[in-house]
């Protein structure tokens, strides 16, 4: 099976304070560490596990520029056979639909049986996979937590409310967004990344892909970010102050009063 996995390089914000930059025009990115969007690792791992059973190969793709090469190499070190960087100045500022249109052009120039994405990226949109499927007129399923290959179809589970699983059968080719936790993504060491460092990564531009430049990028975007802002604190938590010992004492009193010690 030929599998394409769409990935994205994102800032790691889970353990970092985000500050606004230039009055909200952007966030302060200088101190942030960029890496692969974590959910994408689950999608790549799932693709690798499928081809280990069925044969075929895994290709990873992203839309971006030379800075994004590092995440493609990381996923190659995991085991992806190839990577493609779709890169053109005209792509900058694309909304989800624009990104999906760029990916669609690439997919149509090749043949893939299955296209995977991570469940969502740093903006929490969870949109490109579903849009890509609609543009290609492929079936789509989101929040996928297991995949079994059954000939020209897949049996998949989707995560629905309360941790229940919705079981579906879906025809190939299709697009699936992969939920985190579906597998345990393999570890990638520095050595693995060095081993793929010299593999060439093609970087097709808009003209190579046959993308109409007026259908992508900032001017074509139907959805645009106006600015970032910090939401009003609202009620907000009462932050306990003092040394750790003092805070423990204050918390003990609160826990006793609220029934937290049983």
């Amino acid at each position: 099976m030929e599998i394409l996995v769409c990935v994205k390089r994102v800032p790691d914000t889970s353990e970092n304070e985000i500050q606004l930059a230039r009055g909200g025009a952007d966030i302060e990115r200088a101190d942030l560490v960029y890496s692969i969007n974590e959910p994408d690792n689950y999608a790549v791992e799932e693709a690798l596990q499928i081809v280990s059973r069925t044969g075929g190969k895994v290709t990873v793709v992203t839309v971006g520029n030379e800075e994004d090469e590092e995440v493609l190499r990381r996923e190659m070190a995991m085991g992806a056979a190839g990577a493609v960087l779709l890169s053109d100045q005209a792509f900058e500022g694309s909304d989800g639909r624009g990104t999906a249109a760029i990916l669609k052009a690439y997919v149509q120039s090749r043949h893939y049986d299955l296209i995977l994405t991570g469940v969502q990226a740093d903006d929490g949109c969870a949109q490109v996979g579903g849009m890509l499927a609609a543009l290609l007129d492929y079936p789509f399923a989101s929040l996928v937590t297991s995949i079994e290959v059954e000939g020209q179809r897949l049996k998949i589970a989707r995560e629905v409310e309360g941790g229940s699983k919705e079981i579906n059968r879906i025809d190939l080719p299709c697009v699936l967004s992969i939920q985190t936790g579906i597998n345990e993504p393999r570890y990638v060491g520095m050595r693995g990344i060095r081993q793929v460092a010299s593999i060439p990564i093609p970087t097709p531009c808009a003209a190579d892909l046959g993308v109409e430049v007026d259908e992508v990028g900032k001017t074509a975007a139907k959805v645009q970010r106006v600015d970032y802002f910090v939401p009003p604190a609202g009620k907000g938590a009462q932050i306990l102050q003092g040394s750790r010992e003092e805070i423990v004492e204050k918390l003990m009193d609160l826990l006793k009063a609220k029934g937290g010690l049983n």
Partner: protein, 336 residues
């Protein structure tokens, strides 16, 4: 002014809470914000369940468009999308709850009706010319963003459940319009087979009055013991957020959130949990929330009652030691 539709999520003949929330969101689009009648419900399904749902919708919406077809008895997003494409006029605004169904339906729907798409909308600031201004959150809720959506070819807005509180408006006596005949034959390349209920784990966190809940900040599997120890001395159970389950450090049955368990404890200690809306959706009954996180900007501090900015791996053992000390003092003994 584009026509506004609200997609109704329902199950077993009962409306989802979002059915009452979408009209509130719709009223923030229209200006002047008066016309309660300006939003039309779209509901698909089959049989007695659908009839029951339509009856409930008459109290919430001036007009409900009903689409009945046997194949829609279970909401398969691919079929539902085709049904909506057939009935909704070009240029409309379609509101959809941003849940596991909404993320399945809406990105593709927006392509098929050539509309702008904004996912996970938490607030709406109204129309300015051909643009609709809305609010989203990014980076796990740490930062908000004003977004604008071009309405010239319509829009699909996925609305965060719980973000628009129903205001208790007087019940309407709305009408139900049957649109089933406009749908024709629907075909899907994705087929719903069955739903498998979540497994019940070793510990039932839904019954625990006190939860020590851990998130990504727990760092590694060996540190789970720190949470277990604190929970033991407090007489609490250990629950968690999604990253802990993804790492396979705790069973899925321990997860609090929209895709995990819904819990109603008296006290909830959120340790190293950033506080995503999916996590908070599983927290009901207004517990006393203690947030422990080393990032002072973590969204959990916005909803917690009390916050502690510290390293959870150092603070939790300190608290456990203090509780243990208290329980050993004669005359202050705790039942164990």
């Amino acid at each position: 002014m584009p026509r506004i539709f609200a997609y109704i999520v329902h199950k077993n003949g009962v409306l989802d809470d979002t059915a009452a929330e979408l009209p509130v969101a719709a009223r923030k689009i229209v200006s002047p914000p008066d016309a309660a009648a300006a939003v039309t419900a779209i509901v698909v399904g089959w049989g007695a369940d659908l009839d029951k749902v339509c009856e409930s919708l008459r109290g919430l919406y001036a007009e409900t468009w009903k689409v009945a077809q046997e194949g829609l008895a279970y909401p398969n997003a691919e079929l539902v999308r085709q049904a909506i494409v057939k009935v909704v006029p070009a240029g409309s605004i379609v509101l959809v709850p941003h849940g596991h169904f909404g993320v399945d339906l809406s990105p593709g729907l927006s392509i098929k009706i050539n509309a702008a798409y904004v996912p996970d909308v938490v607030d709406i600031e109204g129309i300015d010319g051909q643009w609709l201004k809305v609010v989203r959150q990014e980076f796990g809720g740490q930062v908000s963003a004003h977004m604008r959506a071009n309405l010239s070819t319509g829009a699909v807005l996925n609305v965060r459940p719980g973000a628009f509180r129903p205001t208790g408006t007087a019940p309407m006596n709305g009408q139900v319009v049957d649109k089933s005949a406009e749908i024709g034959v629907l075909t899907a390349r994705r087929q719903y087979l069955e739903t498998i209920a979540a497994e019940i784990g070793d510990v039932d966190i839904t019954k625990a009055p006190v939860l020590v809940s851990i998130g990504r900040g727990i760092g590694e599997q060996e540190n789970i013991a720190i949470a277990d120890d604190l929970a033991e001395v407090m007489g609490a159970a250990v629950s968690c957020s999604r990253p802990v389950v993804d790492a396979k450090w705790l069973d899925k049955s321990r997860q609090v959130g929209s895709s995990g368990q819904t819990v109603r404890p008296k006290v909830y200690m959120a340790c190293g949990i950033s506080g995503s809306f999916q996590h908070l959706a599983g927290l009901k009954g207004s517990p006393f929330i203690v947030a422990l996180n080393k990032n002072p900007k973590a969204p959990i501090f916005r909803v917690a009652d009390v916050g502690i900015v510290d390293d959870m791996l150092a603070f939790m053992p300190a608290l456990a030691a203090r509780v243990r000390e208290e329980s050993c003092v004669p005359g202050k003994g705790r039942r164990s």
